[in-house]
């Protein structure tokens, strides 16, 4: 499989202005991310809220510019491109956002919303555009009759289908789905996830799937990357990471996933303390302040990348590979 997107040492530090007299602080939202996304796969980014997974998605989609590091998409280094070139690049990278109620402009009909991408990039004649809209709206399970309606006339699930349709209009290579189902009812979540899977097969799409919901991630992913305080701390194939987690943080996360059987007993790992503030990231291993197996070494040195079989990567000193 060929690499579609690669990042190296990607960082985003937001400068928070501490007021006129205050001290400037830097929020290290993303703090050195290295990942590869292969063509046709679904890579999931998981982590608790505030760990920088959405920021990573937005960096990769060039919605914000990185403070440091490189993004290489399809063999092109994205960072140094001019505004016009980035605009062209956007045809290949599309977003699906979390909140289906604020991601569609309430003053536009569905048809206008779907035509927008084609108009912006001046693609096709009028008839071709209409045809594309009709094709895409049906491929996401809505009917052409609904094109003249406004977003407020649809349910959350339907709106998310419209968002997906919009992201498909330009025939992108990579779709960044930022928590696409967390605002939906569980019954509708499954429909949307299955739709995403079908579309992936049909159009050979690659997904970067951002979520905090481990059951959802298990359903859609090929590979999973676990983030903690702006860093990836473990990355592996889905089955590998769910069956054989290495990093103590991943273990704790997985132990929190509910099992739909009340008789099953298992050991829950409860982490102590709260997520440290990203303005003040602990020295050494960022997880040492909450880690049940941390040693003195963890406080000083940042763990190196450890490899285990099946391209399983993790960053921890105290776990044998």
């Amino acid at each position: 499989m060929s690499i579609l997107l690669e990042t190296s040492n990607l960082k985003k530090h937001f400068e928070s202005n501490g007021g006129f007299w205050g001290k400037k602080k830097s929020v290290k939202a993303v703090n050195g991310i290295n990942l590869k996304i292969f063509e046709g796969e679904t890579l999931s980014l998981v982590g608790e809220s505030g760990c920088g997974k959405s920021t990573t998605g937005r960096l990769i989609g060039s919605l914000i510019t990185p403070s440091e590091g490189e993004i290489i998409f399809n063999g092109i280094t994205v960072n140094n491109l001019g505004k016009e070139k980035i605009r062209l690049l956007r045809r290949d990278i599309q977003f699906i956002f979390q909140d289906p109620f604020s991601s569609l402009n309430p003053k536009k009909t569905i048809k206008q919303i779907l035509l927008d991408p084609l108009i912006i990039h001046k693609i096709g004649t009028r008839a071709e555009r209409e045809k594309r809209v009709n094709d895409v709206i049906e491929s996401v399970g809505l009917s052409q009759k609904q094109l003249q309606r406004y977003p407020h006339e649809f349910s959350g699930g339907q709106r998310q289908r419209i968002s997906i349709a919009r992201s498909l209009m330009l025939k992108p290579k990579l779709i960044i789905a930022d928590e696409p189902v967390s605002a939906l009812d569980v019954s509708i979540q499954a429909q949307i996830l299955n739709l995403l899977k079908e579309l992936q097969k049909e159009y050979n799409l690659t997904y970067l799937f951002i979520s905090h919901d481990l059951s959802v991630v298990k359903h859609v992913s090929d590979r999973v990357a676990v983030m903690y305080l702006g860093k990836i701390i473990e990355m592996a194939d889905k089955n590998d990471i769910y069956k054989n987690p290495k990093h103590p943080y991943t273990k704790a996360l997985l132990s929190s996933v509910p099992i739909p059987d009340p008789d099953v007993q298992r050991e829950r790992i409860i982490l102590k303390g709260d997520l440290p503030s990203p303005t003040n990231i602990p020295s050494g291993c960022p997880f040492h302040s909450r880690c049940p197996i941390s040693t003195d070494k963890c406080r000083v040195d940042i763990p190196k990348q450890h490899h285990s079989e099946n391209n399983h990567i993790y960053y921890c000193y105290n776990v044998p590979s």
Binding site: G61, F95, S102, N105, I120
Partner: protein, 277 residues
């Protein structure tokens, strides 16, 4: 949209005010076809008269018909009110969009300038501008237009700040839309409601400012009638012919009252939850 129309027809205040305003506008537009005296024609033998069958509301110190002067004044008041608000809304939208959307030093520069304009009392600033440009109807419109820019800039900027971080703006960006497209096709259509309400209220403010300027002799120049100018002229004849001051004041009162209530009603229609809690 249809629910908004329904709200509108249910709101009796809005309906009555709209009828009054439409009536005034229709009278002003068709005033030339009405059997009225010329507003500037003097009749020496009929000076300072009360209402009669010949002069519906009486005459002023030169024997000019008060009724036709009030209607002619209404034309000027509405002209000044509406066109000055068009100026301030137009410029206010552009400045507010830039300040709110681009932020950073654009925001600081524009908003500090607006703060300076805001620091002057409205009438004083208008007075200074008219004094600099010279009196006259067009300069009055310009002066009042400039004075009202900060109100609209602030309003638009605030609304933009509320909308610009919503996901549909971000998704337009991720589609590759240019800034102008985002500003005018994504943001602007979503902030029209407060703008419309504020514009209505600003029209009545502009009419008042115009009257004040004309009262001070800096607005519409005689012999052309304007409500403020008529009130100013009538001061010396108040005891001889009280109608000279009463009728223009009443005309102004009704118009401003109707516009203000209409603006308030629009506000209720756009924010149906506002009045209920």
């Amino acid at each position: 949209m249809s629910s908004m129309l329904q709200n509108f027809s249910k709101n009796k205040t809005a309906l009555i005010c709209m009828i009054i305003l439409l009536f005034i506008i229709v009278v002003v537009i068709f005033s030339e076809f009405l059997p009225l005296h010329s507003p500037n024609k003097m009749n020496k033998e009929y000076r300072l008269q009360g209402p009669s069958s010949e002069f519906f509301l009486g005459t002023d110190q030169f024997g000019r018909d008060l009724f036709s002067r009030i209607i002619s004044g209404a034309k000027i008041s509405l002209l000044v009110g509406i066109s000055s608000v068009i100026i301030s809304v137009g410029i206010g939208i552009i400045l507010g969009l830039i300040a709110g959307y681009f932020g950073k030093w654009y925001d600081s520069l524009i908003m500090r300038t607006m703060d300076i304009l805001f620091a002057f009392p409205e009438i004083l600033l208008a007075l200074a501008i008219v004094a600099a440009l010279g009196p006259g109807t067009f300069n009055t419109i310009l002066a009042i237009g400039i004075v009202n820019i900060p109100v609209f800039t602030r309003l638009v900027r605030g609304s933009v700040l509320g909308v610009k971080n919503l996901e549909y703006i971000e998704s337009a960006k991720s589609l590759g839309a240019k800034d102008t497209r985002i500003l005018f096709l994504e943001i602007l259509p979503n902030i029209t409601a407060p703008l419309l309400v504020q514009s209505t209220l600003a029209i009545s403010g502009a009419i008042l400012t115009e009257s004040a300027l004309s009262f001070l002799g800096l607005g519409v120049q005689p012999p052309n009638p304007s409500w403020g100018g008529m009130i100013a002229e009538s001061r010396r004849y108040m005891e001889l012919a009280p109608g000279m001051i009463i009728w223009p004041c009443l005309a102004m009162l009704i118009t401003i009252f109707a516009i203000n209530l209409f603006g308030d009603a629009l506000n209720d229609i756009f924010n149906p939850l506002r009045g209920k809690n």
